[in-house]
């Protein structure tokens, strides 16, 4: 199916959802001056605003927490992954949600380059969608070879590498705010006794990033939103992919797949943990 056919079909399905009064709001994408942006459709007359193409990069799951009504949403693999995590963490309920899944071959930046997380993505097809538009795509084999370059550095070089990255952080919090799984009402990182925004010390920045890393362990679904949102181009993808790798290697667990799966960090298994 071509992009334009998917877009037409999407509009048709959403129109029907409104006419049948099955949803109160629909979260999708619309055109904007420099590409596309998320939009919230509230009635059948607005449905033609919806677009679908390879630039629809935002993870729409972020917006689900705002609504307390019946929501429809269009989801790529990573959006659906985030939705699954949010359901698992009791933040949203599956019953109030209508998911239109679209198999994904990767999303592109405005200058037409595929995002790096999409090159290694192994979660392209819908798993819990109510309806699927478009043909399923081939899933790739899991690989973490892209991390080798950093992993193989001597430890001192690695430290230098990450310090150089973190040093540039301006603590704008865009990465936290855009992350669909950083939804805590009270976040550690807002405590000004822990992160002093007048000083913006290097140690505060390191603390900020490592705290997020451990909090996202077993939850991050590698959507890449944090890296895309960062105005300083910090290589957050390389940090969060490493977390995924460790969670996979230690616990053979991948978040965003099964609604019944349990985050390995909130459980344990005395036998298998012996090697830890």
């Amino acid at each position: 199916m071509k992009e334009i056919e998917i877009e037409n079909e999407l509009r048709r399905v959403v129109r029907r959802l409104f006419l049948e009064k099955r949803i109160d709001i629909f979260i999708g994408f619309e055109d904007s001056l420099n590409g596309v942006r998320p939009c919230f459709i509230k009635s059948v007359d607005e449905v033609d605003r919806l677009v679908w193409n390879k630039f629809c990069k935002n993870n729409l799951a972020l917006y689900l927490l705002r609504f307390d009504c019946r929501v429809g949403i269009v989801a790529k693999g990573c959006d659906e992954g985030a939705i699954i995590e949010l359901i698992k963490e009791n933040q949203i309920s599956r019953e109030n949600l209508y998911i239109i899944g679209i198999p994904c071959n990767g999303i592109y930046s405005e200058d037409n380059k595929i995002y790096s997380v999409c090159k290694t993505c192994t979660r392209r097809n819908p798993l819990i969608a109510d309806i699927i538009i478009g043909e399923l795509v081939d899933e790739k084999d899991m690989t973490f070879d892209d991390l080798k370059e950093i992993e193989d550095m001597p430890i001192k070089d690695r430290f230098r590498f990450w310090i150089r990255e973190f040093e540039n952080c301006i603590l704008c919090y865009a990465c936290r705010n855009i992350c669909p799984l950083c939804y805590c009402n009270e976040c550690y990182l807002d405590r000004r006794d822990l992160i002093d925004l007048r000083e913006r010390n290097l140690s505060d920045k390191i603390f900020f990033h490592l705290s997020r890393a451990i909090h996202l362990a077993g939850r991050c679904i590698e959507c890449g939103e944090c890296e895309r949102a960062c105005p300083m181009n910090i290589k957050l993808g390389k940090l969060f992919r490493k977390i995924s790798k460790e969670v996979w290697e230690l616990f053979e667990y991948k978040p965003g797949i099964g609604i019944e799966d349990k985050n390995p960090l909130i459980t344990f298994d005395p036998k298998r943990d012996e090697e830890l």
Partner: protein, 139 residues
């Protein structure tokens, strides 16, 4: 500029703190680099506590609980083990040596073992040198 390395130890009330206490009453000598914080269970130690300790100038952190299977809260330390094996790997990836974070299971009767762990950890971290996350001079 402080000279000596500092180690922050989170010890659980029921076993490892009692172990440290035993080392004390048995007059076992161990390096004075350790600052002890008593917690009710090793699983009370949020990884954030450890990161905060590093941020505020600790050169090493010890998290100690009861022996596995002997936790006062039955299974607390099993969670501790998973959590900190994860944190250790994250630290290593960003270039903070994993020896700086140590997780140990020490019972209340192991005063001597407590002493030797502290001694070993102190000398290991002295070899690594200080961890100053605020003044990185790029060496």
């Amino acid at each position: 500029m402080r000279e000596d390395i500092r180690i922050v130890g989170f010890l659980c009330n029921w076993c490892s703190y009692a172990g440290a206490d035993l080392a004390g009453v048995s007059r076992l000598e161990y390096p004075a680099n350790l600052r002890i914080i008593r917690v009710m269970c090793s699983s009370r130690v949020d990884p954030i506590f450890v990161l905060k300790a590093f941020k505020e100038g600790a050169d090493g952190v010890l998290v100690a609980g009861c022996r596995l299977g002997e936790c006062h809260y039955i299974e607390g330390n099993f969670y501790t083990r998973r959590r900190f094996s994860m944190l250790k790997r994250i630290l290593e990836y960003v270039g903070i040596e994993k020896e700086r974070l140590r997780v140990e299971w020490i019972s209340s009767s192991e005063g001597e073992r407590f002493r030797s762990i502290i001694e070993e950890m102190t000398s290991e971290i002295k070899k690594l040198g200080k961890l100053n996350l605020d003044k990185y001079e790029g060496n």
